[in-house]
């Protein structure tokens, strides 16, 4: 039996292990196995591997971990901000902080360094402005005079 044929029957053996081999191919496989020692070995190894894999030992779970009721940490449950958003917020915050730290003399408004002290405050009374009605004819007369 050549290798190419064996590859085909090895696939069938893998399918048989998964209980997915169609009835039509079962007889064909059995006939081949009767003649091919290499495929019989392949089959035996498949079964042996499965046996070991299914009996792989359990893992040790620490006692404390086993009984720990899982509760989310408050910052993880409430602040689930994606990294790019968090980075953008951090950049804006740093930018604002740097602006606030700028030297007072360099401000665009030009705030003086020395503080202004108000020593006295004088209250000035402003006379009330009386509203007067201007006659329309007088207004026209004045305008004419200005034109002349």
């Amino acid at each position: 039996m050549n290798t190419k044929d064996c590859e085909y029957f090895e696939r069938l053996l893998s399918s048989r292990l998964d209980e997915e081999l169609p009835n039509a191919q079962k007889q064909e496989l059995d006939n081949h196995l009767a003649d091919c020692r290499a495929c019989r070995e392949f089959d035996a190894n498949l079964i042996e591997q499965r046996r070991i894999l299914r009996s792989l030992p359990d893992v040790i779970v620490p006692e404390g971990w086993q009984s720990t009721p899982i509760k989310p940490k408050w910052w993880r449950s409430r602040l689930s901000v994606p990294f790019p958003v968090a980075a953008a917020i951090a950049l804006v915050a740093i930018g604002g902080w740097l602006m606030a730290l700028r030297a007072p003399g360099e401000t665009s408004v030009g705030v003086p360094d020395t503080p202004i002290v108000v020593r006295s405050v004088e209250i000035v009374r402003v006379p009330a402005v009386q509203a007067t009605r201007v006659d329309a004819d007088e207004m026209k007369k004045d305008n004419k005079e200005e034109v002349l």
């Binding site: 893998s14 498949l46 591997q49 499965r50 792989l56 040790i60 009721p69 899982i70 993880r76």
Partner: protein
């Protein structure tokens, strides 16, 4: 989905913390075993299982009962395993970690893990563990991985053949 999972799943989505505790008790050992053998790192496996349950808690409001509980947990844990292994490039030898991972290891099993399982790629080991250790069917694995059943059959056959070839060396 088994009936216990179904009941607890419904209760948990409805807001029951007691159901969460039962889900944790029932699934943590299987998840821990799978994650330990996939990553080969006991401490990472522990973190991954904790993170899986943390996600279950944080996503309570968006979970649907249509998804199988066990599948949800496994998909979540599996994705986390792959992230951890790929991002941290874990290169620890499975066999070096065996004393920490396994309860009792006979010589034959130890040799198999060291010389065969440890030499498979992450994807191959994952597939073999899902099928042989966790007992998922071909159809279930296809659903979990989002590929066709034929793809799973082909990949599984290649992984099995590779295991045999490694074993002969």
């Amino acid at each position: 989905m088994n009936s216990l999972d179904q009941t607890d799943w419904l209760e948990y989505v409805g807001g029951s913390d007691a159901a969460l505790e039962r889900i944790h008790q029932r699934h943590r050992a299987a998840l821990m075993k799978y994650c330990s053998y996939v990553t080969g790192n006991h401490a990472r496996a522990q973190d991954i299982v904790q993170e899986t349950f943390l996600r279950l808690i944080n996503q309570r409001g968006t979970l649907t009962v249509k998804t199988s509980l066990a599948d949800w947990l496994f998909i979540c844990a599996r994705n986390l395993c792959f992230n951890v292994v790929k991002h941290e490039r874990l290169k620890e030898n499975l066999v070096e970690r065996l004393p920490a991972i396994a309860r009792v290891v006979d010589q034959e099993t130890s040799r198999f893990i060291e010389q065969v399982l440890n030499r498979l790629s992450l994807e191959e080991r994952d597939l073999i563990l899902l099928r042989e250790q966790q007992g998922y069917s071909i159809g279930e694995i296809a659903l979990l991985l989002g590929v066709t059943e034929e793809t799973v059959r082909v990949r599984l056959f290649r992984a099995r053949k590779k295991m045999q070839e490694i074993g002969k060396r």
